[in-house]
Structure formats: C-alpha cells, structure tokens
Symmetry: C2
Subunit: 359 residues, 2 copies
C-alpha cells in the first residue's frame, strides 16, 4: 500500500530523471495517480514501464515544444512534438479552456502525441472553471468495424464532465467498445472465457476466447453484433478517430503508432503520432451559471430516483462509482500488484531513483 503523495512524488522523479522538466513531470504524475485513485489501475503505475521503454527506444520527446500550429477564436490544432501524451494533452485542454473563456467554447485537436492515460482527467480539468469538458483519443488498432475482421480502430474513449451545484459533477468516461482491452488480459490469465459480444475470430465468427487477438481475432465495437447496434459503436469510434486525427493531422485508424516499445514503429504513416480531441464549453455560454448548476442538480436527483431493477441497489450516475473508489483509495492507500512493484523497482534502480517497499 502506497500513499497518493508518495507515488505522485516518485513518478515525478522518474520522469525528471528521463529528462522532463519539473512542470511536465508533475503533469504526467498527476494523470498516473488520478487513474489509480479512480480505480483504473490499467491506466496507472502499470504503464510506467511502457513509457520507460518508449523513452529508452527514443520514441518519446522529453523536451517537447508543444505548440499551436493553426487556430481560430474557438479552435486550435496543437502539435505535441512527440511529447509524453499527458504533457501534450494537458496543454491542449488548457488551450481549449482559454478559448472557451474568451468566446464561449474552445475545441482543440492534437497531433504528434502519445498515450495520454485516462480521458476523464482532461475533461474534468474544465470543471473548476465552471465549464463542461470533453476529451477523446484514438489508440492502437484492435477493434474491427461492423461486418469486418480487420482491426482498424482503438478502444477510442470519450469523456464528458459536466459541473453541478450541490451534487458532484456528472463524469462519463468510457471506451467505445463493450469492455476495455485490460479485461481480456485478466480473463486470459485466469483461464476464463469471456461473454460473447466482446471479440470475434479471424473469420468474423463470435468467440468467447479472451486470447483470440493473438490468432487474428479482433475486438468488437459497443453494441457487440449488428443486431444489437455494433454499427452505432463503430460510428462513435470512427467519430473519435476522425476528430482526433483527421482534424489534427495525426495518424488515424490502422496507422496509429503502438503505445508500447515492444511493438515496432509502423512502416506506413498518414500523419504524426497519436491524436486527441478536447473541448471546453462555459456553462454561462448557455445559461446563467447558478441556473445551470441548479438544473444539473435537479437532473441528477431525478435520475437517482429511478427505481432499481430487481437485485440492483441503485442507478449508476456517471462518475459516481469512480468517485466512491477515489474516497476509499484516498483513505486506504493505493495497492500496487507485486509484479508491478517489481517492474517499478527495476526502472527505479536503472534510473537511480529510490523506491520504497510498500508500507
């Protein structure tokens, strides 16, 4: 068990040792720790090794010049200059927020970036400014479009954060697939099958084998099969890809570069790096802030009152499960699996950073 403060400081030190400036290293650490606190360890400390290996392979730029390359009063394209994704993403969302402060909304598409961690982090940056935040990213191709067997899309998440008044904010943060990639890995390690509707084999037949991606299979889009609306999940995933990469000039679809160093850089590129998309909207661009917040409170209270199904405790208000986890993990500390602790210690040793045994 580690405290939030300890892991944040350690992660910052690791990225400083890799050559990042203190501000960038802090930004990166904040996103890593937010993933752990929100109960999404698949996007937390486990990813340190991926970034460390990308750095050793010279595939990330620790001294990036993240900059606007095109803009209008309400939009910008940002070039991440090969930065750690969290650095390019945090700066891009700040630009969206600055633009929203001036003209009501701000929209930023970012190219030449890398894996940015949890999408919800950037959407939630808007909240303290009384703004609605949005964030999405494309990612390594694992997912086949409806009626196809070729992995063309990532799990391409969408996050939307909306402030309320007395109620905590509405925070949706979800992959445009039925499940995250990590759940397949967990089932495989446990020797379990997965429900049909998550993956298909190399001819497009339904499969319950979590290891099917290793033999030419692919993940399915939200909806699962065509009858259940997988083409709608494909639309969503495609929209994320286009907003993130066609808008910015990043690599789209099957050309998105791998976020791990053990996969080779692709021969074919159609743009630069990974792409993201961010949005910020001032709530008082639509309603007086106090009216907006009271109305969101009423929305949340109304949905909270929906009658639970038999055997269910309550309706899930988006953001509530993660907030409950965050309170618990903040109080109890962050658990890192022994295998991950071992990996982190090896990285720490190699970089000459101290890493305590869990307390």
């Amino acid at each position: 068990m580690y405290t939030e403060q300890y892991l944040r400081s350690f992660t910052r030190d690791v990225f400083i040792k890799m050559g990042c400036c203190a501000i960038d290293a802090s930004r990166i650490a904040d996103v890593f720790i937010a993933a752990e606190l929100r109960g999404l360890p698949s996007h937390g400390m486990i990813r340190l090794k991926d970034y460390f290996q990308l750095w050793k392979a010279n595939r990330i730029n620790v001294k990036p010049n993240v900059r606007i390359v095109h803009e209008t009063p309400s939009t910008a394209v940002v070039d991440g200059d090969g930065a750690v994704g969290m650095v390019a993403a945090t700066r891009s969302m700040e630009i969206a927020i600055e633009k929203a402060a001036r003209v009501g909304t701000g929209w930023v598409s970012t190219r030449n970036s890398n894996h940015f961690g949890i999408a919800g982090f950037y959407a939630m940056m808007a909240l303290e400014n009384d703004m609605i935040g949005m964030s999405m990213t494309n990612a390594n191709p694992l997912v086949a479009p409806t009626f196809s067997i070729t992995p063309m899309l990532g799990t391409n998440p969408i996050a939307v954060a909306i402030p309320a008044g007395k109620e905590p904010p509405f925070v949706a943060d979800f992959a445009t697939t039925p499940i995250a990639r990590g759940k397949l890995a967990v089932a495989e390690k446990k020797g379990e099958k997965v429900p049909f509707g998550f993956v298909q084999n190399n001819t497009g037949e339904p499969s319950d084998d979590p290891a099917i991606l290793k033999s030419g299979g692919s993940m399915l889009t939200l909806g699962g099969d065509y009858v259940h609306g997988s083409h709608k999940g494909f639309c969503l995933s495609a929209i994320v890809d286009i907003f993130s990469a066609v808008f910015s000039g990043a690599n789209f679809g099957p050309f998105v570069p791998p976020s791990v160093a053990y996969l080779p850089v692709l021969d074919t590129r159609v743009g630069e790096g990974t792409g993201h998309f961010f949005g910020a909207m001032r709530i008082d661009a639509f309603q007086e802030a106090s009216v907006f917040k009271a109305s969101m409170d009423k929305w949340i209270e109304t949905f909270r009152k929906a009658k639970p199904a038999n055997g269910r405790e309550k309706v899930i208000i988006p953001g509530e499960p993660e907030r409950e986890k965050e309170m618990k993990i903040r109080a109890e500390g962050i658990t890192i699996l022994p295998a991950i602790v071992k990996e982190i210690r090896e990285i720490a040793d190699e970089l000459g950073v101290e890493f305590e045994a869990a307390g």
Copy 2:
C-alpha cells in the same frame, strides 16, 4: 408510388393550411421528404398525423417567434416558441453555421421545440458550407438507465456529418439504443419475438416481447446489458439529454413532453418543450480545407478496404446505406403504405388540400 416533388409540395401545402408561413412549411416538408428518401419512413409521412393532431389540440405554434435568448460568439440558446420541431431546428442549425463562419465553431442548444424528424438532416446542413455538423435531441421517455426499470430517456439520437473530397461525406445518425422504437412496433404487428438486449420487463428481467412497454417494461440503452456496456449507452443518452435540455432550459429526461396528441401533456414540467443540440465546425478551423478533404478521402478509402467477415459483402461506411437507398428511392419513387395513405387522405380532406392516389 409518389414522386419526391409531389410529396414535398403536398406536405408544404398541408402545413400552410395549418397556418405556417411558406418558408416554414417548406422547411418542414424538406425534413419529412429527406426521411423518406433516406429510407427512414418511420420519421417521414407517417408522422404527418401526429403533427396534425398536435395542431388540432393546440399544442404547436404555427406562427412562432424562434429567437436567440442568450449567446456568446460561439454559442446560443434558442427558444423555439413551441414551433414545429423542424422549424426551430433548421433555424438553430443556421445560427450554429453563422457562428462557425465567424469564430470557427458554433453550438446551439434549443428549448421549447417539438419532434424534429431525422437528426441527420440538420447535421448535413453543415456539409455544403465545408463544415462538420452535429445534431442531437431528447425525446419521450421509453428507455431505462442501467440497473433501473423506470423509463427516463428517449431514444436520443446523435448525428455527425463530416465532408470529404472525392468521396461522399461521412454521415452517422443513430439512436443511443440498440434499435429504434419503430422496430418493436413492427415485430409486434408480425407477432414476432425480438432478440434479448432490446427491452426488459417491469422488474428488470431480460425480455424478448416487443409489446413489453405496454406492461411496464422499458427499452435498454446501447450495449443492452451491463456486461455488454449498457452503462456506456446510458452515458451517451444522458449526454444528449443534458446538452439538449439542461443547456437550453427544455424539459429533460422523464419530463420531455409527448410528441403525439393521444398522450396527455405532463403535469410536471422542469423547462419548456423538447430540447435539441446543434454544432457546426468549419473544417478550415482545423486544417486547410483541401488538406482536410483529402485526409477524409483517405480515411474512407482505408476503412472501405477492411476485410469483410465471412458471409458479409463489405464494411458499412456511415452514411453509405442511406445514400444508396436515396439513389434508389429518388429513381423509383416513394412508397407510402396503404394505411398511411388513408390517414393522409383524411387529413387532406379535413384541411381541403388535394391528395392524389398513388401513381
């Protein structure tokens, strides 16, 4: 079989007889006919009766003052003044496009409107201006949030239209449920069951009964059940509801007024009428227009090349099936079911408008 021109002119005459000005009546007719041409007759001529009855019940305003009630350079809230939805929506999307022309993007949330037909129509208005268009609306509550049995949301569609160059545009237009309401009605009439994952009964158990809504059942969100990501579909539907109604001051969730006169006006209101949300983004707010279009062409060509699954002909590029239907229906004419023709003739007789027998 009717020609597009005939039905457009007839529909315009019907709304003029109800008291709409010629411009508004033309706008309404355009959306009705677009639904027929795109192979979505559930949103076409079949809805004439609903609007006629709402008009007779004095529940729509045929002389509306559709106006901006709040704005920033990139946003507006529009009050539809109880207009036919197509009138409020077309004007709102025009405002989004005007704002995008000036500051890069325009975002409009609309209250005090009614059923607006197909969402895709408004998103596609952006295309001829070299803009990306977005459109969404809330609707009558039929859909239960994950883990709940209370219908709280409509089938809340999202439409996104993105221009390409040589390729036709990307047009996604989908309900945030596995299926549209109309498919349940069709299955019920045929005496067929529906696949599990569409609806649940009044305790939240899975059901295959298309008539279950009449006995306390509800529709499910995209994803179907929690294991398959229905909470993600709920997030999407909730986002549509909040952007359409909390932003604008329309009725949200269970308070959305019925779009048919045979259902009573609700006792409780939390805002005015039905809500919509529209967006327009200039493509050159992100990339030079020629670069953007070439890049979208490349995106579409890339996805077209995805290998089809066994037994499937090709990948569905969003917008392609509707475009193919439109070419066919334009050439062959629009078929109206005899029962609908009968309804239309009754309306025509009552209003004193001529309506030909199908040619």
